[in-house]
């Protein structure tokens, strides 16, 4: 009962948030929260460190931008097209990457994402260094004009809630249980008769798809798809958000994303603007050395202790 009350409270907060804060920043936080949660599915629950998730995020942003701007698709279909593109890309990368484990998995996803990045630089439809600019926001189902920031916020909130729902469903399903079993002890899961490669691949594809959904939505919000979205720095950023918030916790990645996005926004306008990379690096090091459970993970541990 308490749980539902908490969810209702959270939802109310999300609904009234644009009255209190700048909606564009909120939308950015939401998109990155979804991105980080998608990433958490593969790292936190699957134990696979993907260093190439920017390819899905940025790739979906490009495809969505192109679909809406050049093909003239309506906004919802544009986002759907980008998401499907990320799914296909996730399948291709995943099939190759799951052939190796651990550290190699990280290096392979990183290298393949870099390859995708070079393809984006070279292909004409991405607009090269300029990116795809001026993507029209359009309307929702032809009814609601999304150029209004508040209307856009509720649209983004809806999209992200669907994404979060899919992730939560996957984590709390038998599929999620098997995934955690594989993470904790791969040989044991194999000996229990699970085809671990199929589970890993499915988790990777779901993760890539939702990451794509986040990127696609972001490109509509900012009306821009650029190389930054696909660069490996972005892959590093999403690792940082997830790590800071808490690996393998449901709300951790969203908390991490909110902190990092807000921090970057605050820093970039202040005197410390040139230090953003350095500060991010420092947070990374501190997280790894002293704070491996992340904020939500540490809170949960502290709560558990106080109950015992």
């Amino acid at each position: 009962m308490k749980k539902y009350l908490a969810y209702a409270l959270l939802l109310t907060l999300l609904l009234v948030a644009p009255l209190l804060f700048y909606p564009v920043l909120l939308m950015k936080v939401l998109c990155f929260a979804l991105f980080a949660s998608a990433f958490n599915l593969i790292l936190g629950y699957g134990g696979l460190l993907s260093f190439g998730h920017a390819a899905f995020f940025g790739g979906a942003a490009y495809v969505t931008g192109h679909a809406i701007k050049t093909w003239g698709l309506p906004t919802e279909l544009g986002i759907l097209t980008g998401t499907v593109a990320a799914m296909v890309l996730g399948l291709l990368v995943g099939v190759l990457a799951i052939r190796r484990q651990g550290i190699y998995f990280a290096m392979i996803t990183l290298a393949l994402a870099q390859m995708v990045y070079f393809v984006f630089i070279r292909s004409g439809f991405t607009g090269g260094e300029n990116g795809l600019q001026g993507i029209p926001r359009g309307t929702f189902l032809g009814l609601v004009d999304l150029s209004n920031d508040r209307a856009m916020y509720y649209f983004v909130l809806g999209v992200c809630l669907i994404g979060f729902g899919v992730i939560a469903r996957a984590v709390h399903s038998p599929f999620g249980q098997v995934l955690r079993a594989i993470r904790d002890n791969e040989p044991r899961a194999t000996s229990l008769g699970y085809n671990i490669d199929r589970y890993k691949l499915l988790a990777f594809v779901i993760s890539a798809t939702i990451a794509g959904l986040a990127g696609a939505t972001k490109s509509v919000v900012f009306q821009l798809a650029s190389l930054t979205d696909a660069h490996w720095h972005m892959s590093g950023e999403v690792v940082l958000m997830t790590l800071l918030g808490g690996l393998g916790t449901i709300f951790g990645p969203a908390v991490g994303a909110a902190i990092i996005v807000t921090l970057q926004n605050t820093l970039s306008s202040g005197p410390l603007g040139a230090w953003v990379t350095v500060i991010m690096g420092l947070i990374f090091i501190i997280c790894v050395l002293a704070f491996r459970k992340g904020i939500v993970g540490e809170l949960q541990a502290a709560l558990r202790k106080s109950f015992n």
């Binding site: 550290i103 990280a106 393949l112 997280c287």
Partner: protein, 296 residues
Amino acid sequence: MFSDLLGIAPQVLFGQLLLGLINGSFYAVLSLGLAVIFGLLNIVNFAHGALYMLGAFAAWLLGKYLHIDYWGALILAPLIVGFIGVLLDRFLLRRLAGVDHLYGLLLTFGLAMLIEGLFVKMFGASGQPFAAPKALNGGVNLGFMFLPYYRAWVVVASLVVCAVTWYVFERTKIGAYLRAGTENPKLLQAFGVNVPLLTTLAYGYGVALAAFAGVLAAPITQVNPLMGSNLIIVVFAVVVIGGMGSIMGAIVTGLSMGVVEGLTKVFWPEASSTIIFIVMAIVLVLRPAGLFGRTN
């Protein structure tokens, strides 16, 4: 001539081959360092590119403020950066013993961000020119191509360093300890060898190799805070292709990938920036453990 038959002037072909060989030398030295570090620490050193850059900057700073010439810097810069590596291992990486190996990758990733961010802040993102030593100015006309002395020196110096490393690892007593440390550190410790010291030295040496490559690269690429940031990803792909199992594997794969890249620039220029990743994908399909790798 046969190369003329393919519609490509021999100067172009051999020029790109030489360029490929130079890039290959850097890949070889860098992936060698990664292999040494991985062997003993079980860490993929994401900071390798940043430390390569640090080597180039050390040489540049030594020249600018202490008037130490190229040859002095070629010795001193790797020593300085190697010492920094020893400190990094002692104070940061050491704390991750017994934790999942992925955290090592994440920690060194954070380090790379920190180091590169600091240098961009201090020196700007544009490159600083760095002159090649006077003794190596000019070049020789080989008939089919023009060979600049400095570029020939880069290849020779890299090969020598690779050969020395191979010899030390495969033919000397300390090499035997290092290989034993890779296989079974606990047992080696039980025999009375100071394994933590060995590990620290291995990290220092791997890092010094990166810095050495950085100094060699400085006159060719200029000294730029971000010179190592994209390179490290290519080197990772090289490492996946070769597998981190063997010293010789790292050297051979590094050199040949450079040559493959050079040839691609001649015959299929559009793919030159992605060819190594394509090769990696093919190797993963055909031989997932890598060309020289062993499973597990």
